[in-house]
């Protein structure tokens, strides 16, 4: 069955929250509230997490990996280069001196952490992304958008809920 997209715009968060709550509590055939709903907003609202429920963020695992790999890479790169001097006399000084190597290891730790965090952000946030099937520039200004994907049989019910909560505009487009 073909999927259809609907985008409803609201002027404030209170209305959007009520819509989400109703979508959660109402049983609608052909619509899965957990997988088929996206809330769009102009700012980061902590309330969104409250009414959508907590969803996991995995960026920090990328950070851990990047920082660890950066630090290790830094240390072994420097130590490997210094080990080239193995055959030379060092006058009793260590071939791989740890205290000064710590500085560059630290810098590489941070460099790896930052680079891979940004990479993780792009992957986890799904960026770069193509435009959604429905988009309104008003979302980046001051309105709240609720984008839903459903089977054709569910669209009338969804529209009814949006209208009940004073949606400013409802956009509709056939999905693929």
């Amino acid at each position: 069955m073909s999927k259809r997209h609907l985008l409803a715009l609201f002027s404030n968060f209170d209305e959007a929250e009520l819509v989400v709550q109703e979508l959660r509590t109402t049983k609608i055939d052909g619509f899965n509230v957990n997988d088929d709903m996206v809330v769009k907003s102009a700012i980061e609202h902590p309330e969104v997490e409250e009414f959508l429920g907590e969803k996991p963020v995995y960026v920090q695992w990328f950070t851990l990996f990047g920082a660890t790999m950066g630090g290790l890479l830094g240390f072994f790169l420097i130590s490997g280069a210094q080990a080239n001097f193995y055959a030379q006399l060092k006058g009793g000084k260590p071939i791989v001196p740890l205290p000064p190597n710590f500085v560059l290891t630290y810098e590489m730790f941070i460099l790896g952490g930052v680079f891979i965090t940004v990479l993780g952000f792009l992957i986890c946030a799904g960026l770069p992304a193509r435009r959604s099937p429905l988009y309104s520039a008003n979302v980046s200004e001051d309105q709240i958008g609720i984008l839903v994907k459903s089977d054709e049989i569910a669209t009338d019910k969804l529209k009814e809920i949006f209208s009940k909560h004073q949606a400013l505009e409802i956009q509709e487009e056939a999905g693929k």
Binding site: A42, T63, F121, C124, A125, S140, L147
Partner: protein
Amino acid sequence: MKDIREDIAWAKINQDVLKSLENPRKLYWWILFGAIAMLGIAVGCEVYQYNVGMGVANMDNPHMWGLYIATFIFWIGMSHSGTLLSAILHLMHADWRKPIYRFAEAMTTFSLLTAGLFVAVHIGRVWQIYYALPYPNDRGLWPNFQSPLLWDAMAIFTYLSSSILFLYVGMIPDLAICRDRIHAGWRKKLYTLLALGWEGTDRQWRNFRVTYLTIACFLIPLAVSVHSIVASDFGMSQAPGWHVTSFPPYFVAGALYSGCAAIITLFIILRYVFRFEEYMTLPILKKIVRLTFAIAMVWTYLNAVEFASVWYSHDEASKDVLIQKASGTYAPFWWAMIFCGSVVPLVLAFKRFQTNIPVLFAVSLLLNLGMWLERWMIVAPTFSHGIYPWAWDHDQWPSFVQWGMVFGSFGWFTLLFMVFCKVFPSVSMYEVKEMVYHRSLHLKKGKADEQGAH
């Protein structure tokens, strides 16, 4: 007094900031023209030095760093303001930073780019800058990884690339606004490309928040390490006047100080040029002024610690350098540094001057003059009066080529900064909206509590 009005419409915030990208006051073009002229002088000096050699810079032995490295430290220091406003104040939930942190972050990036130029310029043979890269030469020898100079190169590269990423990531939601609101043309194409398809979905915001916080957490120790390592360039040598334990915190405090002073200068300029009076408000300026005053006092204290530890030590060579600074050829500049860095900021303690724009503009320029003199007074007197007698009384007055390069570096920085502010939003629209939103929620809650009490 409110930091910002809570009844500003969100659409107006977009409109005002986007207007700054198209329609600044005339002064903008004068500043841009001035910056290009200043840069032209520096380019002329560099071309002359490139063709004739380092002699025209009046460099000699022992004065092989001169104004170039002094100015390099100055620009590195300037970069710390962005980290302070974006990262430290972000972690402390200081909401007032929101309208001003974007330009401070841009300052960080462009200061580092300016500082990097001086490294290239001071080696004279600029075409051999690649020697600074850590790779083995044809005899299999690697650079000395135990040298603070190499640490410095690595630290600055890390700081620059992390700062650019931090600036860019924080700007993505605003780039999406620009993409949605700007008419077709090269700008729209640029914003569409850079916005990466951002739509403000809950998934994007969730990951954005964690990413921004994580990079902020990385940037704070990084910023401290960068200036500590610059301090190690001096502190780890045995040269008198440099071998001081308190140098790293002294450098970090100096960096924050000059950065804050520069923020005041640019705050005043941007507020007027881009008509940001509603966002860069006087209460916010007052907070920066107070912060600057506090850091000025920390810097003054660390100066006193440095003088006392040299004076009461048994290191006669270091003591001689200190006496030379206060009474020798460089004395007028050294005393000017003390005056500008420790006496002038006392003006900021007076309430009536904390929002007086002409006074603050003049004071911020004097503070930065003091901080630039500080860097020169770290570099030059030690070269003039080193440990070995042959180096004594080698006072050096920089040639016009050196002065031209220093002058031009301000033009280069201003040019980059002003072009950035014209192409990208220098006030964070989404964060100002957040600020307005939270303020209005807070007021609503206050009113509701009041009604409940009655």
